[in-house]
Amino acid sequence: MTAFGKLIRTTAFRLTLAYLFLFALFAASLLGYFAWNTRRMITEQITTTVNAEVGVISDIFGRRGLHGLIQTIENRALRPGANLYLVTTPEGRAIAGNVGSLAPGVMATSGWSETAYRRLDEQDNTDHRALVHVTELDNGFRLLVGRDLEERRRLFGIVAKAAQWSLLVVIVLGLGGGIFVARRVLRRIDAMTGTTQRIMAGDLSGRLPVGRSGDELDRLAENLNAMLERIEALMMGLKEVSDNIAHDLKTPLTRLRNRAEEALAKSGSEAEYRCALERTIEESDGLIRTFNALLMIARAESGQARGNMDDFDGADVANGIQELYEPLAEDDGMTLRVKTESTPLHGNRELISQALANLVENAIKYGKPLAAVQPLSAGSAAAANSKEILIEARRDGDQVLLSVTDHGPGIPASDRKHAVERFVRLEASRTQPGSGLGLSLASAVATLHGGELRLDDAHPGLSATLAIPAPAGVSDRLAAQTPDVSQKAA
């Protein structure tokens, strides 16, 4: 498409054309109305003047006869700017007046008519036009009185010229304005198109230019940029996941394959085969779990799980999870306590339970105090305390906080952001079983509910908190109530 072609195809230009057309139509009709009215007025004026003169002349003819008529006519005809006069005999011969020639047949028809004429004293051969009135006098003589239409014509010419010029100006200005606006818009649109094409070509970091005027195009550009931001983040996430999947799922798959190969290669006893098969199943179960966790995270992140939300109390979730994991913690030499207050939530109960379960599993796995900091005097209050994991459900302003606090080594501040990412297993956890997806899922669940996963220092230890906005209206209602805090020791 040529540059001009593009220009005239712009909405701005087309709108300008439409306005131009409307405006020209308006101007033309205004001028037309003006011209028509002027013409009518001039015609009326001529008619009145001519009628009056015909009256006067007829009167003179009646009183003074032909002679008086001729005299009057001659007199009047000689005045500067005189009207047109002509008197003819019944044979059609001109006997008085200032008209040299007329269109044929005009004198024969009585009443009003428009005709071409030439004055007697005029030397040039140009015809003029006049509005004339022919009256038949008593004895077959005919009288013509008329007025030149030059004035009317000139006025018409002025109007026509005005119309021409104004139309020309309107069109030039309109087209110029249209092209100016269209080019401005087109330049910006072209810039946007260029950027989007670059983005489509694969450069996701490109952003649309945003002007400072804050007009509709800027707002559009801002919104598109926000959308691109989100798309880029999602794409990055996707890429990261696929990289991680490739890496973290290939490892167990390779292990699985090697084990099967090894079992095939050496001729073992049935018991050995059985053992190899059992380990294969175990390994594939682990893989399935990892896949499920990944799918769950993907679903939570894409917002698909929003469909299955209901109202429940965060305290019930905290108590339920404590109840489920308390024996496991105890087996590991730790205590799992819960401290709750009524925390109404609107969300996916199953997902929130799972997120909290993941946090508790992490706390049990990684939250054991380091041997070095453990006091030697066994049974001291500090030692007992440091082996405690606390699940808490409480309200903080318009947020519901579900937190799990341990007194283990914690996560260094610099690693916390990193720890939430998929498959990331911090140095300390490499030796422990697990998929590295627990915190990612918890974080995705928090995000799904419009909240976030916070990792804080518990001095010492880690405090992982699902901070979820309380459902609208509930926080006010609860503020009026006295908090019912129930504590339950494991």
Partner: protein, 233 residues
Amino acid sequence: MTATDPQMRLLIIEDDRESADYLVKAFREVGYVADLASDGEEGLALADSGDYDVLVIDRMLPKRDGLSLIGTLREKGNRTPALILSALGQVDDRIKGLRAGGDDYLPKPYSFAELLARVEVLSRRHGGPAEETAYRVGDLELDRLSHRVARGKDELTLQPREFRLLEYLMKHAGQVVTRTMLLENVWDYHFDPQTNVIDVHISRLRSKIDKGFERPLLHTIRGAGYMIRDGIR
């Protein structure tokens, strides 16, 4: 592993030839009479005419999907227990499946042990007696009304959750119950814990009901789950 009733009749509705053949073979090996339908319409016709104890239905089927099949059966008043197999393993898919009239939902991939355990529980539910007020396995007694548990002459003190765990196990005495079944039915969670959290609860329960007694009642079934039963069958 053997089916409790050798005459148990099972209908498998699954379009994937390989998994269908595997299921039919596996169920026949444990003593089931297993029929196969490979699409939704055929499945509906068979399920409607045959007298089956359990239906195992793939969620996505040609001609008529699994959920609509169950819905149609239920409308006709056919209440044969149905277990839905699905590649969609998420919580809301499960809820959709159960709402459509399914009795249980098992996401793919599953282990045969898990499927078998669930099918046995379903068929028992279908043909078995109504909920009893008391269960008895060997000399272990559980009274659901008074919440009393006793082994022989010894009164046992159980935590509420331990009581519910034992109640579920005893209700399905002689049948394998898997860890997932316990998590679903006793705790009402449908996620998959990464740790052996159920095993710890079982070992606590075991220490209360079996410790100090000559004959253990609560058995671990390797690769499958747990079973409470008296003696060796």
